[in-house]
């Protein structure tokens, strides 16, 4: 059975943020702060870099736009040119809307599935779910979790450290089976 790490509960968003700062300053990298809602300023507190998601979305949007415009141009100028209302084959102003719509559609896919990809979800099975108390995190609980494979991880020190910075209900979780 492989260990996962330690989790500790905190009282409020405020205390969680402060705890995060301390953990960060202690030099931990493989840790996370769990809360029922996104907490303003937490990224800095944890020292996270900006998300890369934006680039993905941008790329997807561009693809969509190009695809949309390309498709229409190909259909009417190359594949099957037809005289429709005596308009030219390459009636680009008419293509604007579908181009735009496909751009939006693709970037929406980019956003949602990109988010899932970066968050590694769906992930239905996770060690933290072994903890009964942890489930409050989706309602009113605030947790810090420090993982085993953090280079600075030393179980006892970690537990002490967490208790010192005000963590309660500290649990050591491992992936049992």
């Amino acid at each position: 059975m492989s260990k996962f790490g330690v989790i500790a509960r905190f009282e409020s968003p405020e205390s969680l943020v402060h705890a995060a700062e301390k953990v960060r300053d202690k030099g931990f990298t493989k840790f996370d702060c769990h809360s029922p809602f996104p907490i303003h300023g937490m990224d800095d507190a944890m020292g996270l870099k900006r998300s890369k998601l934006g680039y993905l979305i941008g790329a997807m949007g561009l693809t969509g736009a190009l695809f949309g415009f390309g498709l229409q141009t190909w259909i009417h100028s190359i594949e099957y040119p037809m005289n429709i209302s005596g308009k030219p084959y390459f009636a680009y102003p008419a293509y604007a809307i579908i181009t735009f719509e496909l751009m939006v559609l693709f970037s929406a896919f980019g956003a949602v599935f990109g988010m899932m990809f970066f968050n590694r979800i769906p992930r239905f099975h996770h060690p933290v779910f072994y903890s009964e108390k942890f489930s409050d995190v989706s309602s009113d609980a605030f947790y810090v979790s420090i993982e085993v494979d953090d280079p600075k991880y030393d179980e006892n020190n970690v537990i002490d450290f967490l208790r010192n910075i005000g963590g309660t209900e500290i649990e050591v979780l491992s992936d049992e089976n």
Binding site: P81, M82, N83, I84, S85, G86, K87, P88, Y89, A91, P93
Partner: protein, 1025 residues
């Protein structure tokens, strides 16, 4: 000879007449004659007409097949069903399956002959066109001729021979007929409709010879007897007048609808229009004065229309006669005080100043004295009227008919043979024909459908359609043309000849033999008969007339006195006028869906007749459209819905004959209201002192046009009911550009000026106003276009039905028409303006105008409507998805949608009338005018196959070909010498709604009214906004 062999011979001759329309006449019939004449030919002929039925059917189901194959969307569904090919057993000389053949024939109409050419697809006659060589049609046709195709394939037609309702063998009838031959003819009578057939005539002579005491009566409910009597009184000769309108500059019509439903209307319209063909401001045109009590096609095309009650028509003539006194008429005319002085003076002045080129026409519905006077005046005016002997044709005689009825009542008649007529329905009410008929022992009715008369007759014999039998007919001026069969009888029917011959000759003669022998003895007297006969079969008529016009000189001295004080109309009473119906005539076409659904000229009414009343009367008595009226004449009353019509005389109510039939016709049974009960022998045309009662029940009337410009908008916001009419009025000069001749001569370019008004950039053509330069270049190859001359169009509906016949347009029925879902590709708009009592009528036939920058095309999501390289706006039915967006975006609203599968319940026989070159549209599909692209393609391909350019006149589109006024020109607008280019170069040319920049290919020639400066009334000279 056995019956079979005779039929077989008929076939041979039909084949003899096979001809490619253009050339190789020599080859055409000589060869075929030699090569084919054997039993097999006949059998094969039978077979073809059978198995080709299948060919006809399959075409129509195409879209439902798609539906099906999608329905079973499985992969197996994609596998097509097994199809069979059924070839001939023997090659048919000169026949390639799928290439239509054209045979000349004749449509006998009353005592006239309409020469036609019939288009046969695989031995299946599907389309009627006029025969260019024939003097009465000159290649043109009318709605009756066009619709006769559908009549042929009417599933309700009578079948076989019935005796007292039971099927019985033909031989039984032969026995009966021969038994009659034994007698001296006592108690035997033949009753038939008018006819000009020399064959029937000679049979009649033999009949008189062999059965001296027998009785032969001709009766037609709508006839010209008064006209003939009048002429007889005038010239002491019974003659048939023929009006040479092409030579008439001034035409004054007193109650004559010679352009509408009166006899010989094709001829009249054609000749009338010749003098209305205005090339430029220097051309002249004739002037038409019309005095009438209810507005007709003729009245609507008049330059000066006078609204007079029918019973005042004779006063009018008397006054006119007085004005014309100076001519030295053999008349003692004294001045009559009338309200219409100015009109009369003007007309009289014109008549006299154009002596030799002016003509006076009288409605057939008026008295013999009236016609006598007219004949004398015309003679004095030296008017272009030719008179021809009537002796060879058989015309209706009310007296003969009356005495027949009396004899029948007295039981003097034992055997009555009725050929075609339907007297129980349409004979004068006072004769009570049904009752007299019951007194007759044996009654034989030769009929095309089991009708009111058949039901009371012991023998019912199915009558041939003219597509099915041999016969002949003669024009007024003596040209005899032949009726030749296109197809074997579908319903085991017989021709009049076959019915009469056993009685007259006590043996059955084939129609073919009889006709041929008569021609041999009476018509083609000189030269090689066989050769001449074959030419007749080829041309459709014999080139030499039977007789020439006869000179006339006044025999009597007429008096206008007899005219004056005949009629008195009490207050609050009305005169009732009986008009033949432009749709069903006297009722004979009641079961013809095409004719029932065609909007009537002026009223746009379909599927019904109504009591036409004037706006003023409607206001006074507070009558709404469709409100039931009870019309009482003496003891007789009928109920009929009212229809408010501008131009209707306040003293008169017009009723259309031919409706309210009770017979075994699914289409026409019980449609409309029977007005014959009011019609008696002595006032068969109009009757005075009818009283009307307004009932408070209403009846739904299906009119295809809501807005003619004069009626109020009854659903509008309170107090604004004149908004829509005003707007409609203000648009008329915009849509139907029109002016008087004088104005046009002073401002020849007024039309062009108006067209320019709306152009953003005067220098550019409309097509150049596109947002960006199109990739399209219409300067190469043939570019199709159309021009419609509003000056000569008389809104006769021929084009609309020709289109229906050529393009398989479905009949949708009254309910659908009321919903506004009629399918006619050609819509004829009628607009009224000016005085409601005597409005100016502007008619305009609108079909798809084939815009070069078509609004409909760009909005179709699936590219089902696109533009062809030859400039046609094309509707691809099998790609159509049915979003109806194109129709919404069509400024002309000429696209028609199949809201239901209108052809679903079409009987198989009717499907035989369908043109195999055009798809039958399934439900959910948009359709519209295609410029008859099937004809374009056929012409183009044959041109390509012959490695030549397609040239003007290679083909005509259906509407153009039928148009008796020749108002429609179609062709290649890139060819500067084509008819259409010439028309479009005229300075009257304008495009409908040009300001939208749709650049239509169909353009119109502005309407010019040749009005007499003495009484100019035209409200638009150059029009408003």
């Amino acid at each position: 000879m056995s019956q079979i062999e005779k039929k077989n011979q008929e076939f041979v001759k039909t084949n003899a007449a096979a001809l490619d329309k253009e050339n190789n006449q020599e080859f055409g019939y000589w060869k075929s004659l030699k090569d084919i004449s054997s039993e097999e030919d006949y059998n094969r002929f039978l077979k073809q007409s059978e198995h080709n039925i299948d060919n006809g059917l399959s075409r129509r189901n195409f879209l439902s097949l798609i539906a099906a194959s999608v329905a079973l969307a499985g992969l197996e569904g994609c596998k097509k069903p097994v199809q069979k090919i059924i070839p001939y057993v023997e090659a048919e000389i000169g026949t390639i399956p799928g290439i239509p053949k054209y045979y000349a024939s004749t449509l006998p109409f009353k005592n006239n002959a309409l020469g036609v050419v019939i288009e046969n697809h695989d031995e299946r006659p599907v389309k009627v066109e006029g025969n260019e060589k024939h003097p009465a049609t000159m290649g043109k046709s009318n709605s009756f001729a066009q619709a006769s195709t559908l009549e042929m394939y009417d599933p309700d037609r009578a079948r076989g021979i019935k005796f007292k309702g039971n099927n019985i063998d033909w031989s039984e009838y032969l026995k009966f007929a021969k038994s009659l031959n034994e007698t001296d003819g006592k108690g035997l009578a033949v009753l038939m409709q008018e006819s000009s057939s020399p064959t029937i005539k000679s049979i009649k002579e033999d009949f008189k010879k062999n059965l001296p005491n027998a009785n032969w009566v001709v009766y037609e409910s709508i006839n010209n007897e008064n006209l003939y009597d009048g002429i007889e009184k005038a010239f002491s000769k019974r003659l048939q007048p023929l009006y040479r309108l092409e030579n008439a500059q001034i035409i004054v019509s007193l109650g004559s609808d010679f352009l509408g439903v009166d006899d010989n209307n094709i001829y009249h319209t054609r000749k009338f229009a010749q003098n209305r063909d205005i090339v430029d401001e220097n051309s002249t045109m004739n002037r038409l004065y019309v005095a009438e009590s209810s507005i007709s096609s003729t009245g609507s095309s008049a330059d000066h229309r006078l609204n007079v009650a029918q019973h005042e028509m004779e006063n009018l003539l008397a006054e006119l006669a007085y004005e014309l006194k100076v001519l030295g008429l053999p008349i003692n005319a004294n001045k009559v005080k009338g309200p219409n002085n100015l009109w009369i003076k003007a007309a009289a002045k014109d008549l006299m100043s154009n002596e030799g080129e002016s003509i006076l026409l009288g409605g057939s519905s008026l008295s013999k004295e009236f016609h006598q006077l007219i004949a004398l005046i015309n003679h004095q005016l030296n008017a272009p009227v030719d008179y021809y002997p009537l002796s060879l044709s058989q015309v209706s005689s009310i007296n003969d008919f009356k005495s027949l009825c009396d004899d029948m009542k007295k039981g003097k008649i034992e055997n009555l043979i009725i050929l075609g007529a339907n007297p129980v329905y349409d004979s004068p009410a006072d004769f009570d024909f049904a009752k007299s008929l019951s007194k007759v022992k044996n009654t034989v009715h030769l009929t095309n459908i089991v009708d009111e008369t058949s039901k009371l007759c012991s023998w019912n014999i199915a009558m041939n359609h003219y597509f099915e039998c041999w016969g002949d007919a003669m024009t007024y001026d003596g040209f005899v043309s032949v009726v030749q069969p296109q197809i074997m009888p579908l319903f085991d029917s017989r021709s009049a000849i076959q019915v009469l011959s056993p009685i007259v000759y006590s043996k059955e003669q084939s129609a073919y033999d009889t006709v041929k022998s008569v021609w041999k003895s009476k018509i083609i007297k000189k030269g090689n008969f066989d050769r001449a006969w074959d030419k007749v079969l080829h041309d459709g008529l014999f080139e030499k007339p039977l007789f020439n016009s006869v000179d006339v000189k006044p025999s009597s001295k007429a008096s206008t006195k007899v005219l004056n004080d005949n009629f008195k109309l009490d207050n609050n009473k009305f005169e009732i006028i009986f008009n033949p119906s432009s749709s069903v005539y006297d009722g004979r076409y009641a079961n013809n869906g095409w004719l029932q659904e065609i909007p009537k000229p002026v009223t746009s009414l379909t599927w019904d007749n109504a009591a036409l009343i004037s706006l003023k009367v409607a206001k006074k008595l507070n009558i709404k459209n469709g409100q039931m009226l009870e019309i009482a004449v003496g003891s007789k009353t009928i109920k009929i819905p009212a229809f408010i019509t501008p131009g209707q005389n306040q003293k008169s109510i017009s009723l259309e004959l031919g409706y309210g039939r009770k017979f075994e016709g699914r289409i026409g049974n019980g449609v409309g209201f029977n007005v014959y009960p009011l019609r008696t022998s002595n006032n068969s045309c109009f009757v005075l002192n009818a009283s009307i009662k307004v009932l408070n029940e209403t009846y739904p009337l299906a009119s295809t046009q809501d807005h003619h410009g004069l009626e109020e908008d009854k659903y509008a916001a309170p107090g604004f009911d004149d908004l829509a009419p005003k707007e409609a009025q203000s648009r008329i000069p915009e849509l139907v550009k029109q002016s008087t001749l004088d104005y046009y001569q002073d401002n020849p370019d007024w039309v062009q000026k108006k067209v320019e008004q709306h152009k953003p950039d005067k220098k550019k053509s409309w097509a150049d106003h596109s947002m960006y330069n199109p990739d399209w270049d219409y300067s190469k190859g043939p570019q199709w276009g159309m021009s419609i001359d509003l000056t000569s169009c008389t809104s006769c509906n021929a084009c609309s039905i020709a289109c229906q016949s050529e393009n398989n347009i479905p009949v949708v029925g009254k309910e659908q028409v009321m919903k506004g879902r009629e399918m006619h590709w050609i819509r004829i708009d009628n607009y009224f303006s000016g005085d409601p009592d005597n409005p100016e009528v502007s008619t305009q036939s609108v079909a798809c105008v084939h815009c070069e920058l078509a609004p409909c095309e760009t909005v179709c999501p699936v590219a089902a409507t696109t533009h062809s390289s030859d400039g046609v706006n094309q509707m691809t039915y099998n790609r159509c998805l049915g979003t109806r967006y194109c129709a919404n975006n069509c400024p002309y609203k000429v696209r028609k949608f199949n809201f239901y599968n209108y052809t679903r319940d079409l009987p198989e026989v009717v499907q035989m009338a369908m043109n195999p070159d055009v798809s039958i549209r399934f439900r959910g599909v948009m359709e519209k005018c295609t410029y008859c692209y099937q004809r374009v393609s056929a012409a183009r391909i044959s041109a390509e196959n012959e490695n030549r350019e397609i040239k003007d006149g290679d083909f005509q589109v259906a509407c153009q070909q039928s148009c008796p006024a020749d108002a429609i020109k179609f062709g290649d607008i890139n060819d500067p010498n084509s008819e259409v280019s010439k028309a479009k170069r005229r300075n009257r040319d304008y495009a409908l709604l040009a300001h939208l920049g749709t650049a239509p290919r169909t353009t119109y020639l502005a309407k010019i009214r040749n009005q007499n400066p003495m009484l100019v009334s035209n409200s638009y000279n150059g029009g408003s906004h």
